[in-house]
Structures are given as C-alpha cells and as structure tokens.
C-alpha cells in the first residue's frame, strides 16, 4: 500500500521508512512562521530558560495583526519582536504593511514543496498551496520549537478531494470552497490531511489554490495540500529561497475518504452567519441589505481578486448605504493592482483602502461593525462576533459577490454585473 502525502513527508522528516495514521512522530520543522503573536512566543521562550533560537534561518516573522499599532502597548510588543530578531540574527523579519504573513511567506519563497512548515496562526495551512506540509500551532509550542528545534505531530488520516469539471462564468475558487465546506461541515475534516486533486485542481492558478488550502482549517483540517506541479514550479522559479524536493502521494495511497466535487454544478455561494458550513447558492439570500463589504484577508485579496472586483465596480459607484473596505493581501499584490489600474477603479467607485494586514477579519483591527449590521466578506470566518460585534452578522462570499453587493446595497448574484 502506498503512502499519502502526509504519511510520506512525515516518514521522511522523522527518519522512518513508513508511518501510519495515529502514530506520533518527532521532527525538525523546515521553517517556522509567526506574526504579532511572536511577542508571546518570545515571552514563553525566555520563561523556558532558552537563550538562543536553534536555527535563526528557520524563523520567518511578518507583522500583520495590528498594522499600524493603535496603542503604546501594541507598538512596544512589536518593538520587542524587532529587538529579538536583531538579538538572534533572524533575517526574515517583515515589517507591518508588507502584507498578511501567510501571503508574504509564500510570495517571498520561504515555504516550499516537500517542507514541514508550522506557524502561530490557524491559517498556516495556506502554505499547502505550494505542496508544503503546513499547519498552525500555538505560541508556547513555537517557543518550544525555537528553543529545541523539535515538534511532535500525530500522523493524520487523509481525505482526498477530487475536483473535476470547470466552474462557469461568475463562479470562482471561493465558491468551490464554500460549497465544499457546506458539504463536509465544520468538523468534516477534523484532524485530517486534505489532498486537493482532480483536473480542476490541476487547472487552478496558485492564487485559486491558495483560497482552498487556506480555508481547509474551517473544516477542521490539519493540512490542505496541492501537489507540486508545473504551475507550482513556475510560480517558485526565481522566488524560492532554497532548493526543494517535492513530495508526492503514491498512486496507491490509502485514503480514509474520497470526496468528488463537480465544479460545473457550483453556483455563486454565500455562507450564512454563525458557521462556515452554512453555504447556500446566492439566490437564496438575494435581496438581503448589507452595510459593509470587506475585500481583504489571506483568503481572497490578491491581485486577481481585486481585478475581479474591479470588473464589477468599473464605471459604477458604491450603493450609498455600503462601506467597501479594501485590504490587498500584500504590498506586492497591491502594487500589481495599482499598476493594472484596478485600484483606481476601486477608488473611483468609493472604496476605502486599509494597510495590508489582517484588518477586521479577526475582529481586532479596523472595520468593526455596528449593532444589527451585515458585512459581506471575502474572508474565511463568520462565527458570532468574528468582526468585533456579537450583534452583527458576517456573510462569506467570493470577491465578485462582495463587489456586486457593494454596488447593489444588498446581496445579489454577481453574474449579471459581470456580463455588462
């Protein structure tokens, strides 16, 4: 019996011929990621009595949660991180404003195929986009890794998701993911590795794959991975910081479950508030007024997402009752949208631009909702209180559906606006 991606990479990295699901292995991660929470990591690191990070070349930090900081305390936290990086010789430090950490680590070539990468954030699973075994851990755990270079991991069983067919015009990778979440549920992949496969997966761009890898945690997944292929290698050419050796699942690997999704049957989706698996076709909630539209987050705010929104907003103005917040996933993605003219289109429509960071996606920074308001968002989570107010609602959608709602003042099918 062959090995899944997870079994193969964890066996290799722990020096064994083969491992099986449920087994605990110990290994040295290839790269670690952190952001503003690094201030906590440093505190725990020192409390353990550690003085030197085991390998400063395996630490990547990008500030993104409080960009720029609002308070003296937040600013001092960030200063502690800068001081620590200088003290330890950590070179991969990216200042607030560079972008969301998950976007930057991938675009700067620090997370690579065949590597084990862990980050102090649940959306670290995003780096599965380029074929890494990537997952989130807590700050104390990261301190332990920085101090000892070691982490224990339980080998996950694997669910393979076969994506076939091609989605229609006005339907996007985000809609595919929201449909998949509705089908599997928020714990449908709990503790599982998810391998995305099939002809549709192979045809996806890196940005599209990123959306799926990113939201795998919303199903409880440990990792969400796309096999490294020509698309991956093209993306990483000139970008990868180190040589890499991709790991591929064996054709006869043993999957706990195989889920098939026909992408051609998927419509634009909207995920209802309270849980990430409450996705419905947009028609079921058409007409619901919204007050805020959020085009941001590591899920969907890259140049291609901004371009899709610009197509809908070109020559149009925001509905008078709607505020549109635009947060490019990184300065680099924002620059691309700037040079293409897309940012100007969004500005002319009435968008408000925020610094490249997590913003209100996690409820902690810039863009809180008022009581009774609805936000339609290109982000990844919508549990009660997610955007800073328990008395407000968050609807998840693709950038097209977000832009369409911003124009209409209510949730609408984006397809007619794309045809104009």
């Amino acid at each position: 019996m062959g090995a899944t991606f997870a079994e193969k990479i964890l066996a290799q990295k722990s020096g064994q011929d083969a491992v099986r699901p449920g087994q605990i292995v110990e290994l040295v991660p290839d790269m670690t990621m952190s952001h503003d929470y690094a201030a906590n990591v440093i505190q725990h690191f020192r409390a353990m009595g550690a003085t030197r990070v085991w390998d400063p070349e395996r630490v990547f930090i990008c500030l993104d949660h409080k960009v720029p900081p609002d308070t003296q305390e937040e600013a001092n936290n960030q200063q502690r991180i800068r001081d620590f990086c200088r003290e330890q010789g950590i070179r991969a430090y990216y200042e607030g404003g560079t972008g969301i950490g998950h976007q930057v680590i991938v675009e700067e070539g620090y997370a690579l195929p065949g590597e084990v990468v862990v980050g102090t954030d649940s959306h670290s699973c995003s780096y599965g986009v380029i074929g890494a075994f990537a997952t989130g851990i807590g700050e104390t755990e990261m301190a332990f890794i920085w101090a000892t270079g070691r982490i224990w991991l339980r080998v996950p069983p694997t669910i393979r998701v076969d994506l076939e067919g091609r989605w229609g015009a006005g339907v996007y990778a985000k809609d595919v993911m929201l449909a998949l979440l509705a089908r599997l549920g928020i714990d449908g992949a709990s503790y599982r590795a998810v391998e995305y496969a099939g002809s549709a997966a192979a045809a996806m761009t890196i940005s599209e794959r990123f959306t799926l890898a990113n939201m795998t945690v919303e199903m409880g997944g440990k990792i969400g991975v796309f096999a490294c292929d020509a698309t991956t290698e093209g993306y990483l050419a000139g970008r990868a910081r180190r040589p890499y050796t991709p790991v591929a699942a064996d054709p006869d690997a043993d999957y706990e479950r195989v889920v098939s999704l026909d992408c051609a049957a998927i419509e634009p989706m909207v995920t209802l508030p309270g849980s990430e698996d409450r996705g419905v076709p947009v028609g079921e909630v058409a007409g619901l007024p919204v007050q805020q539209a959020f085009l941001g987050s590591c899920t969907n705010a890259r140049a291609d997402d901004l371009a899709i929104a610009a197509r809908i907003l070109k020559g149009r103005r925001l509905h008078p009752n709607v505020r549109l917040l635009v947060v490019p996933a990184s300065r680099a993605e924002g620059l691309e949208a700037l040079r293409s003219g897309d940012l100007a289109i969004l500005a002319e429509a009435g968008a408000t631009f925020l610094p490249s960071g997590c913003a209100i996606c996690y409820g902690g920074h810039q863009g809180a909702l008022a009581d009774g308001e609805r936000c339609i968002s290109s982000s990844n989570r919508n549990s009660t209180g997610r955007m800073g107010n328990r008395n407000a609602e968050v609807y998840l959608a693709s950038p097209a559906t977000v832009a369409a709602a911003a124009v209409a003042g209510e949730i609408v099918d984006p397809r007619p606006l794309l045809r104009d």
Binding site: F144, T148, G220, S383
Partner: protein, 169 residues
C-alpha cells in the same frame, strides 16, 4: 505522571463552541492567565465567566475550540481554574494549546450521551483511563505518555524548562 485521580465539578458547554468564544480577541492581548481568566467564555455572553467560577472541569459538546489558533483561548481557561476538559471531540489546534497549558483534554465519544448538569462531580482516573460522573463510568483511549508528561509538568513551558535544564546539565 499527572495526578492519577482528578476530582472537580463541571460546567456544561454546547456543541461547536469556538476558540473565539472561549476568549474574544479583545482580551487576547491581556498580560497574564489570571487576567484573561476573568473573561473566559465571555464570547458566549457576559454572564459566562461567573458561571464558570468554581468549576474545574468543562464538559463540552462536539468540536470544542474550532477556529482561531490563538493560545489565549486555552490560557484563559487555565487562568479561570479549569484543569480538565471532557468532550466527544475537540478541534486539533485547541487540543494542543490546552495540553500545552497543563489542561487535561479527554476526547470521550460517549460524553454526549450522559445527561450531566452544572455542578456535577467528575472523577478522572488517568491510570484507568476512565471518567466517572453521575454514577456512570466512561472509558477513553489512553493519552500518549508525552502528552501526559506535558500536562503533569503543568504545561509546555515548564516541560521545556526542565528539558533544556536537563540537556544543559
């Protein structure tokens, strides 16, 4: 090894209580566990920290702690005096964060079948891999030794401190 027998009273939680509900992000940047503990469970409503007071066992529903991986969601529970969690299923990152903060996390599928009430006495016997409540004894798969050691040390910081001291000495 952790205390073989842990006794305490329980507070019930429903299904799908998110990590964001255990501690909303507004409190995640507080300085220490005791401070955070004052707001534990406040994402469910303002009355919940008071409801938790005095109970050391959380008897939760399915999929406890899903969503954000912010460790504050586990730290606040430690700060509020929670020593053990019993649930049919627990989200993976929250599981790790709770263990790393010295909280025993037991995934017991049959926990959903026992009609417990707030304040019920719970007895956890690690050596026997059993949980006793309302006259019912439930069994769970033994926790791996490494995990038991981390909890016994009071969490990963102390476990790490001892490990580094031993390796240096």
């Amino acid at each position: 090894m952790p205390d073989p027998v842990l006794r305490g009273t329980l507070l019930r939680l429903g299904d799908d209580v998110r990590a964001d509900h255990l501690l909303p992000p507004a409190y995640a940047f507080l300085q220490d566990a005791a401070e955070m503990g004052k707001y534990a469970l406040s994402g469910l409503g303002r009355e919940w920290p008071a409801r938790l007071a005095g109970h050391s066992v959380l008897w939760a529903g399915r999929n406890l702690g899903a969503g954000t991986g912010r460790e504050a969601s586990a730290i606040c529970l430690r700060g509020a005096g929670v020593r053990a969690i019993v649930a049919p299923s627990v989200a993976r990152l929250f599981f790790r964060n709770a263990i790393n903060n010295g909280i025993l996390v037991l995934e017991v599928p049959e926990a959903a079948d026992v009609a417990v009430e707030d304040g019920d006495e719970v007895e956890i016997d690690l050596a026997a891999s059993s949980v006793r409540v309302r006259g019912t004894t439930l069994r769970f798969p033994p926790l791996p030794p490494l995990i038991q050691d981390i909890v016994a040390a009071g969490g990963l910081v102390e476990y790490g401190r001892r490990l580094l001291a031993a390796e240096a000495g």
